[in-house]
Symmetry: C2
Subunit: 714 residues, 2 copies
Amino acid sequence: MGRSGQDPEQEAGSATFSPSAELPPPSPADLDVLRRVGARWRVDDTVRALPVDPQADEVRTATGTGRHSVLFVPDEAGRLTATPTVERQDTVEGRALGGLRRLLLGPPLTSGAILRERMPKFLALPVLASDLLSSVAYGPEAMLTVLVLAGSGALGLSLPIAAGLVVLMLAVGTSYRQTVYAYPHGAGSYLVASDTLGPRAGLGAAAGLVLDYVLTVAVSVSAGTAAITSALPALAPYRVPFALAVIGLLLTGNLRGIRVAGNVFAAPTYFFLVAVLGLIVVGLVRAAADGFTVAAPPPTPAVEGLGLLLVLRAFASGATSMTGIEAVSNAVPVFRPTEWRNARTVLTWMVGILIVIFVGLVVLFHLNGLVPTADQTLLSQLARHTFPTGPWYALVQAATALVLLLAANTAFNDLPRLLYFMARDSYVPRRFLHLGDRLALSNGLIVLAVAAAVLLVAFGGRTHSLIPLYAVGVFLAFTLSQTGMVRHWRRHRERGWRRRATINGTGAALSALVLVTAAVTKFTEGAWVVVLAVPLLIHLFRRVRRHYDQVQQALGLHAVARTDDAGPAGDEPPPIVPQQVRHLFLVPVARLNQATLRTLAYVGSLGQPALALHVSPERTEADRFRAQWATWGDHVPLETILSPHRVIITPLAGYVSALRHSRPDLTLTVVVPDVIVEHPWQRLLHYRTEQRLRRTLRRHPGIVVTSMPTHLSR
Amino acid sequence: MGRSGQDPEQEAGSATFSPSAELPPPSPADLDVLRRVGARWRVDDTVRALPVDPQADEVRTATGTGRHSVLFVPDEAGRLTATPTVERQDTVEGRALGGLRRLLLGPPLTSGAILRERMPKFLALPVLASDLLSSVAYGPEAMLTVLVLAGSGALGLSLPIAAGLVVLMLAVGTSYRQTVYAYPHGAGSYLVASDTLGPRAGLGAAAGLVLDYVLTVAVSVSAGTAAITSALPALAPYRVPFALAVIGLLLTGNLRGIRVAGNVFAAPTYFFLVAVLGLIVVGLVRAAADGFTVAAPPPTPAVEGLGLLLVLRAFASGATSMTGIEAVSNAVPVFRPTEWRNARTVLTWMVGILIVIFVGLVVLFHLNGLVPTADQTLLSQLARHTFPTGPWYALVQAATALVLLLAANTAFNDLPRLLYFMARDSYVPRRFLHLGDRLALSNGLIVLAVAAAVLLVAFGGRTHSLIPLYAVGVFLAFTLSQTGMVRHWRRHRERGWRRRATINGTGAALSALVLVTAAVTKFTEGAWVVVLAVPLLIHLFRRVRRHYDQVQQALGLHAVARTDDAGPAGDEPPPIVPQQVRHLFLVPVARLNQATLRTLAYVGSLGQPALALHVSPERTEADRFRAQWATWGDHVPLETILSPHRVIITPLAGYVSALRHSRPDLTLTVVVPDVIVEHPWQRLLHYRTEQRLRRTLRRHPGIVVTSMPTHLSR
């Protein structure tokens, strides 16, 4: 297609997950270094003979536990494949946890089961629209909640503000139609902004989106809970635990994998569409019967003056009705060919439906004189008013609750995907690349659930407290991605680029307007959290990237090319070919028992120089130990260190470190006997010298530590 | 002297601390095994040549940091001694903490500074008596608090009950006089009961004493605080923080070491003696002037009937006045020669003074018609009553508070000492043997302070809530140690043994009576905690001992004698002489970078068979890695393991474990590259394969793990 100007291969890679992403292939330059390093390897080849066939039957099967079970299966090319048997935990608690996990999440899936499912339009619409359409359950209410601060007289302003919002929806919708066209392999704001405006803008969009997704879960779940408590006020005190349970359910479902998501989504979204459109039609018919007389809202005293600031705040609050509009652009590759054309069609439908519902609800709220109250949502009031009897009220509430809870699920789909793309660029921990054993991006899912739960508890599950935080992040992403599109069109200058740039420019300008309005007018109500969090997140992303760059610098093969054959000196890294390694083994020995004697035998058998170290609190003890050592035969040179203040670890580590500094050409290996107890409480009964020494020696570069375990009661 | 029937050497060892106690010498049988094992050692002697002189100047001194500093000093016998320089922490936080520690606790002390100070009697009396004498500040009040439950009329019974308590004091005091005579090298209840009645009785006494010492701190500190808040009621709300600060102060003082203890103690105890005796004399003179008329106590309604149970409860509560009477018996070795004789003299004085003060106070409380109240102690009421004007009241209160806070210090002296003796017998963690860098038994001190603080917070710092827990533990120890003495006399049948046995028997019987009374009558008020805790502690002590016995069984040299020369088979332990060790090194490699190449060079240089392991999530990735391996030169055999569910650690550990099971004669060493980051937060950015693999492999016996570190940013 060539429209986007990107390498098609790379683009194709962008949209799908690969389990090999965690192990990226080396560059040709790296391979070259590898070849040169390997050529310098000199070692006696006789040791290549292994004392055991690594694929012998005894190795591949376990007979120890009584029954014969296959652990590894060989294939024709000489590779072993692990069977589920080997993954089974070998402790009782481990097996119990594994069983529970399997019960909740199902058996593990192999990488071959990755779905590259394509969705027809009638399925894609509900799947992608639940987030957007469900926003009307809280968006108009958020707008009226602000307006009513200026008294019930100000509520009349809802109609012109709504008109402004419709313009915004049209502009952003059209704008995204073009993004879908330009980035047919996935047009998420992070990718578009990074590609067109550079990594900083990409990180800005990403920070906005990360916050937005966390808020989507918190807001949708708390609004869904509000829909339920509006219908059943007795449940109101259990709002927070109920919402947390819903988050837990969403997490579990998503950890199980995405296979079932599509079908589950279609029905409730259509159900909601029918219920709400039915509500609007019946409401309008009734209003027409009344000759569209406007009912006076209950008189409410003004607590704030009706100024421009309040109107702008109402506008920004109402704009949360269009959160979720970006869903289609993230998901272009899931459409059937021609993907971008189908995606555009669905996007157009979605925006159309959004506008109809949004306008219908605002008009009906106005005609019926409804005012936001603490214990019942506006939608619930309207439904009760329109359907005073019969099951219809309950149906509308159930549909609303359901679609809101499913809308939260959109974030569970999108945030892990965003984190995956960011991890590929090293801006977030690489763990987010890992496909869990159910092929879900488990780490992203868990982080999202935890963050949303914390937010929900912190705000007591109240939707209206969360709304002020909501608009800033999402409109930051809109603005950056639409601005990026302007840059895109200007750069490529295809046919009609001026018109396209104008459309995206309008979208960008209007989004920026909402962004600034929301940030300024709702700053003190909570938007400051987001205004602070966005730069903080960007900083964090860049710190992570810098660390990974340092790791690459330190461990990458390119650096080896600089090291010459002369061997290491000073604080040089350890040798990279065996003939340069000069060993000295050090064995700390507190007393002579089986564990230490076996450790000494281990070291003695390596045929390398070794030195035993004994730290003694008293001169007499040191002499006594020397005598024991002589009794044993003095097979390894012994150095005793008197520690007059009776500390053990510090002089030991200090001696090893001093040795290392005086002879950086030697590779020092400290071999520590490690007594391993059966029960954790028994650790209190031991000095844990192995752990303490290891922890201390980790601070000193270049010292190899070997643990020689002795298990008790096995 | 030969009176106690114990080996005098062992006895002498009992009373003093040795830094070498943590490293007990081997038995002759162990040395014999050591000689035989050593004789079987066969290895090429050429490797004894070390590549570095272990005492070279460059090793002993650090020049790396810019200035030249000596880390280790050699002596004539070829031993190195660590200098304070080497103990200095090498991280910034470590140095800061070290500096703070030095500021609070003073510089570290060498073992030569252990004081074996002998005290003259006039110094020993206040040092050892503060606990006992301070008990009169709460004991009589505890008795009256019970009696007043039956109404103010019942308070008259305080005189006959006090008479009973005086009999008890005389009996227990005389009893301890004999114990001191029989065990001149330390006659703590744990040692006496263990020696005469067997380890179980010793543990019972120890459990009672452990609880008693913790309660001593909690009760003394809260009673001392009460003496202060009685005088300054404004401080009452800060009771608990104040008491915690006192415990912190006592802990710090004791961690600094015991050197200053004696002098600090003498003054306040004498001050208290003078103040209280003065109070009693003045009170009695005034009463005599009044013709010893008994003032009627304020009428208090009875909330309980006056039965035998209440009287016994009052008796048991009053018996807390004699807690601390055992202090002399623990400390016989600190007296000047002849130790037992001087100790007996001081003990006699102490009991005499106790009886005078106790009787005097009870009589004055009765004559003045004083009744316990919540906001002021009885002693404070009496002092106010006796000295309505002038500074005398304040002086009495200050002396009481001071002596109570110092009484808590007795527990800080005695519990760590008890734990030291128990650790030597392996009933508590060996850590309690460790002399800290200020020569204090730091671990025991810290455990005591934490336990007392927890108790104090749990009971809100209220003395009267803690009292019911108090008597049971201490009278359990009294009973067991006195019963043990009866057994002792019967066993040795020296001159006059019948008389001595009768005296100790009377002490034991009366102590047992108080023990049962306290446990039964105050069971529901809190004594049940102690009644449950004693057997629990005994169980715990025995579990600890069993673990150490198992360790000795598993690691002791005697077990080696059974292993024959044929080498290990099945689940046998690894070989004890080098010629039997057959190596296989395993190197997990995720990708080829500097860290892994250097690890492979390390393993290659050892000249032992090695196998590299690569776990791959996909077939294509496995093939790609094999190709890289070939590019490098295929210097080490490579086994790839496909993990279709994308887990890494489990198949790796499973393969190593299966290898180990199929060939138990091989010593497997897993060499893991370990990337060490600079800041802890960066750990989140790495998979930490090294740690996870090590943790998993620790569960599988007989697998040696080597960490090959690569430091970032050093």
